[in-house]
Symmetry: C2
């Protein structure tokens, strides 16, 4: 007796999951372990596995099985139906873009990323501009093809690849809400903070001590070192899947919080992956619900938990233990001030919680203008600098700290920037839900007990996998439609150090 | 215009090379980096990639292209013809054994290896015997199918998978030559050495110092750290390919030579892979000529170079530098005596150069009797102990140090043991060729200059890839047919500390 079509599809995706796991390890190794001279061979390996994944998704067998499973879907339960929907989604994406365009994009981005590194080193946008132009042309083609196949506007089609359920409409609504309040909020916060100066943190933050501190914190938060790793890399990232999840930290010997907060950010991603429904581990419905929700999990842990008063009270004794520090600079109050300092600066990854969305809005606006032709690549630097002046009131010191600071566009990751903003909005909204449902949250965190936090996220977010569309998931978990309201309430309360208006979705609710 | 069939085949194997490179990295990571709890997921990844390789080799497309390329092979040069021959060989092997048997073997060996670990821990062969029986039945089936497809005797068919060109006839000839001389040679060597007792080596051999020493030596010998890695693992091994070659060392804090000699052994493998013809990197003809030749390269570097007087003179200052040692125990003479000490013992991996072949002959004989049914698994321990007593005059202290000491049979690696003996014979014969063609070899090595050594191996062995059948390659490189003669001359000269008879192939030459 042969298997039912749906069950055969599960086997195809089980194989895809294994191939993608191998891809993930190849990428992790390339960033953490691989000798510098081995890049060419690794490129061939990645291309071979990506080609194989694409071949599975576009095989006549899979399309035939999807048709037959759809015809007989009466016998499937809710999770299986959602799984089938996600399978179709992956198949549709794979079919929409021809292999020839994928490989042209792969070559163009490999080249662009290499030139971007060099241009940044030399501080010269002109060097990078022709490569960006080439990538942009190909991304436009891809967006048009994807949009046609998925019946979406072209920018929405690009976003859909990263994070289905996030649309231009949602982004515009959130942007409007943020843009209305944030600039004045930044001014007010800087005024409030001027009254409470920060004492500088001094000590010996050796890599070994930082690793030991981060290991303690990760253990407390539930990172499973028997099914995961923590390593150092030139940037912090997460690779792998819930059976073998690997995070990295970037260590800065002058600032112990670069490594710790980066690791907390990645731990947010890792905990999401670890909490995905185990039964669906190797199926599409068992994967994360997209990058906006991924970013919400990392921001929740890094920004809303990691930069909170209860967490500081938990952390202070660990800082004493690992760095042997004490005194006024290491008091709870000063540590909290350090972790929540607001300052206008030109660089996104150095930005605080309050100015960060402005950096993202700037990039989202610029990339949309680049894509639809309103902005030419040769004018990008000027536009960047003008926008930065207008939105944040600062000038980049040079191209490296300005238009060349992010790798996203060189890597063809158009449509990704707005997800940071959506993620921040979701994170704050989840945090409100958490505080409502876990009344002892602050006291637990202060004691280093993260079980209430993680348990709530597991049941409401992680354990849902990709069962629901994003906005349904957020509404189910928080009781409210996704909006910027919670984020703005949170920022007001935290940075003006006063209770904001009672909970109400005044600021830009979306349907 | 479509590509010629032969060129299309090259593209198929280019993809296979990438998939095999990914497999190699997955294995390396599993042994060196992977968290313990991640084995199940890794197993799925390995299986998915192995299935994919098998699917490429057995695809109708590849068989059709092989036929068409064979029909039009008039236009191919010598390397291309050899490449085509090796492609056919891989295809024939893949076709000979059905996927169902391969996956039954994969499951049976995974189980057997796990039980073998536990049985060794408990020192109880009985625990392992049923699993060995199961593996043996499957290996017999595989040997029969392979033999039928390749027109070889079944043991020869198993060997052919590891090392084409090595046959039962060759093994029997070498075994006879070794067995005739070795037992008396061991007795005489022990007598000679009794007159020169060894001073024990004492010092602080921290892992950091051992790593630094090994790194110095590997750099001198030409290991490229920009295209390779050295790591620690519970056993020494080599993975990767010439663009990204990774060796491991096992560190024993009491004995600095365990790590160093293990690393030299692996460096022999790595240098072989690094010297393979670059133009054919991703093609079958650009791969190593099989495991007997692989083992000859590691034994040449570890045993014939690493345990020689010139190498000791090169090494002594490095030992002083890294371990801060001096005195009579660290004299050239005593170090050489330590590195060449002969002692009868029950364990193969602890054996010296002289008794080692006897361990291999014992296993080869036992596995052949197991395969053809002359020996039952339930009598294996008794047979092992009796053979060990007869060949080496020692008793194993227990099963763990006796019949359970090697992982090969649990992993279905029947037909592998004799390759160590063939490798030792080839190594000695190559060494004679080397000394003939590089007259300053000893002086160069003493100065830490390994270019003459590596250059000779590159042109005669490494750079040949799989162009020639094994025995042709050895004859071309050394001017003599492959035999045990050079090995026995070498052992006599080295362990009886006297010049042997003038060069002549008296002892067991093969055609």
């Amino acid at each position: 007796m042969s298997l039912a079509p749906y069950k055969q599809l599960e086997l195809e995706w089980k194989r895809l999951h294994a191939l993608r796991g191998a891809l993930s390890l190849l990428r992790w190794d390339a960033a953490v372990m691989m000798p510098r001279g081995s890049a060419a061979g690794r490129g061939e390996q990645l291309a071979a596995l990506e080609t194989e994944c694409h071949a599975v998704l576009t095989s006549p067998k899979v399309s035939r099985l999807l048709e037959r499973a759809a015809a007989g879907q009466g016998g499937l339960d809710e999770w299986e139906l959602a799984n089938l929907r996600e399978m179709r989604r992956q198949r549709d994406h794979a079919f929409a873009v021809p292999v020839s365009l994928i490989s042209r994009l792969a070559r163009a981005t490999a080249q662009a990323e290499s030139v971007w590194h060099e241009a940044r080193r030399q501080n010269r946008f002109e060097l990078f501009a022709p490569n960006l132009e080439e990538v942009l042309v190909l991304v436009r083609d891809k967006a048009a093809l994807l949009g046609q196949a998925l019946a979406l506007d072209s920018y929405d089609a690009l976003i859909d690849e990263w994070s289905p359920g996030v649309t231009t409409v949602l982004i515009d609504t959130l942007t409007k809400a943020y843009a209305r309040r944030l600039p004045s909020l930044v001014r007010e916060a800087i005024d409030v903070q001027a009254a409470a100066p920060v004492l500088p943190l001094e000590g010996k933050f050796t890599p070994g001590r930082q690793r030991a501190l981060v290991t303690d914190v990760l253990r407390a938060i539930g990172f499973p070192f028997d099914r995961g790793r923590l390593d150092e890399a030139s940037h912090a990232f997460t690779e792998g899947f819930s059976g073998d999840i690997r995070i990295t930290m970037r260590i800065d010997a002058r600032d112990p919080f670069v490594g710790l907060l980066g690791a907390l950010h990645e731990a947010g991603h890792a905990l999401y992956d670890l909490g995905l429904p185990a039964h669906w581990l190797d199926q599409p419905v068992g994967q994360a619900r997209g990058m906006a929700l991924e970013e919400s999990q990392s921001l929740l842990i890094e920004m809303l938990i990691g930069r909170s008063r209860p967490f500081v009270r938990y952390l202070r004794p660990l800082l004493e233990k690992h760095f042997g520090v004490a005194g006024a600079a290491w008091s709870d109050d000063n540590l909290y001030r350090v972790l929540t300092r607001v300052a206008r600066g030109p660089v996104r990854v150095d930005a605080d919680e309050l100015t960060y969305p402005l950096h993202v809005i700037l990039r989202t606006d610029l990339e949309r203008r680049l894509l639809d032709g309103r902005l030419a690549v040769r004018h990008l630097r000027d536009a960047w600098n003008a926008d930065l002046r207008q939105r944040l009131g600062v000038e980049p010191t040079d191209d490296a700290q300005g238009v060349l600071q992010d790798a996203h566009w060189a890597g063809a990751a158009f449509g990704y920037f707005p997800l940071y903003m959506v993620g921040a909005a979701i994170a704050a909204q989840l945090h409100e839900g958490l505080r409502r449902d876990v009344p002892d949250l602050d006291a637990e965190i202060e004691r280093g007990n993260f079980q209430g936090l993680i348990g709530w996220l597991r049941s409401g977010v992680h354990g849902q996998g990709a069962r629901l569309p994003l906005q349904d998931l957020v509404r189910d978990a928080t009781g409210r439609p996704l909006s910027a309201a919670a984020a703005l309430r949170h920022l007001e309360r935290k940075y003006l150090d006063r209770e904001s208006a009672p909970l109400a979705d005044a600021a830009g609710a979306t349907a």
